[in-house]
Amino acid sequence: MRRPIATTRRANLDAPYAPPSAATLDRALKAMTAVVGAAAAFATEEDRDAYSDRFPIDPHRHRPFAAVAPSSAQQVQALVRIAASHRVPIWTVSRGKNLGYGTAAPVVAGSIILDLSRMQKIEVDIPNATVLLEPGVGFFDLYDYLQTRNIPLWLSVPGNSWGSVIGNALDRGLGYTPYGEHTRNICGMEVVLPDGDLVRTGMGAMANAPTWQLHKYGYGPAWDQLFVQSNFGIVTKAGMWLMPQPEVVRGFDVEMDRMEDLGPLIDTIGPLRREGVLAQSPTIGNWFRAANILTTRKQWTDKSGSLSDDVISAIRKQFGLGWWGVSLRIYGRETVVQANMDILEKALNAIKPMSMKPFSWHPGEPFSPTQGGWMGVPMTFPMQSANWFGGRGGHIGFSPVLTQSGKLAMEQFNRTYARYKEFGMDYQASFAFGERHMLNVNAVLLNLDDPEFMKRVDPFLRTLIADARQHGYGEYRAHIDYMDTVADCYDYNNHALRRLNERVKNALDPAGILAPGRSGIWPAGHRKGSRV
């Protein structure tokens, strides 16, 4: 028999967190299996490995106890109620492909994973250019759905598009089109709360509203962002705006020769982005971001430590890469696009690029698969960077939020590059424009076959986070090992934001079962014991 939630609440808030016993976990899993069926409950050693972090600093640190895969919101409701009554931590994944941020693994080892992969409904509203999705729908699934039906709507895709459309938007993932800030495309959600209640946000709060995917706010407080990068609820459906296929796409693939060209490039793009001449989210990448997909380290050097300037020059020459490169794209009606292209070309010529290759595409024309990211076509080839060291690899991100100032970005680049050299790492960075901000997405490439190398990764990342914090730069997203450290940086008024988050957490999830530690938000009982 399940205890009433109200009783559980008082007991739990007072008691310090203790991991559930093996017997409790077994009982909870048995009850969950009765909900989802034996074919959707996974608890072998191999299953536990499959749900562990694939790009880890320590692969054993976040190993889950089991996974269950519900097929409906009603099953999710039943599962959270079971978790609460047994006080067993659960961790939700949409498809579990968040490589670089923990894959499918939970912050708290021994959690039970709620894998929403089997929830795959797609409802497209063609005239309104929206889609209502369940979390198990991947970028490839949605792309194939639209293509096979000749629906002229585009998605925006991240550099590794293996994962879930909803899951990526819920972790504020990025793409490269005008719809590249994926969390902004969310319009209306269906959410299971930690006590099992089911709520719809925005206009969805009205039964049968035809405007759920059209108006983001509804009436009164708008809650969608409450369920983004949080542990306050489980999103079982979300609306996303799709981009109407443009009449034409034009642009330039720009290469800049020198390290110090970053500042002028940013100061050229920033005003055009703010003004709207550029509506996409342009991403400036360094030479290595392009090269580590195409080649491996051993082909160029057998020396450890950061790559020398000689090696960098040789690789750049081989692939025709500038120190920095960016693909700028303008989308829309032919006449408007051409007018904006003239403005863009003039601005770029003023900073003397090493090369500037024009791009043009109309619907129906073929294009190179490597151009797909700017056309909303999902891809996985950028993940070839995981093979940079020749064996098992991966990456962990370090992504502070910057201003769109060339001078300040150069300073941040110089500090970061010096640290990469100090710790003997190969520097991969990008600078991704929002409308007003810029995300400096650095990837630390891992060599999982080299324990000595791996020992340097954690102190390196903590140093980068501390450096950025000194200058007021906090990260927009974090790997499960760094969620506490990143949350710590948000420290105004003695961590008032954390206090607010935890008050909300304890109100919505008194049993403290949903994704403890997500984004540094811990339920009350965990407070002292669990924080790193």
Partner: protein, 106 residues
Amino acid sequence: MRRILLTGLCALLSCGARAAELDGKQLFHEKCGMCHGAVGMGTGLLARRMKPDVAPLEMREDLSAPFVERAARIGIINMPPITRADVSDAQLASIAQYLAKGKPSK
């Protein structure tokens, strides 16, 4: 113990029976194509270790069904393990049978 063995055997039998009814080729494209298609990560990395013309898994003639199933479940080098929620045992068996034939229909 005996009960576990029997359950396992039943699972295997029903798995095989269901796999035969599934379309391995279609499932391969749906579940594996993003990496093992023409420009995917899997094809790109396999092309570094073998002749590029046999880097796409559908062009291989040396794959056995048990090998495909093990590789998918435990991962290989840069390939992450595929969970059973993503690709069920029956679906994977069907994909493995398709790839083990080694000859794509064109």
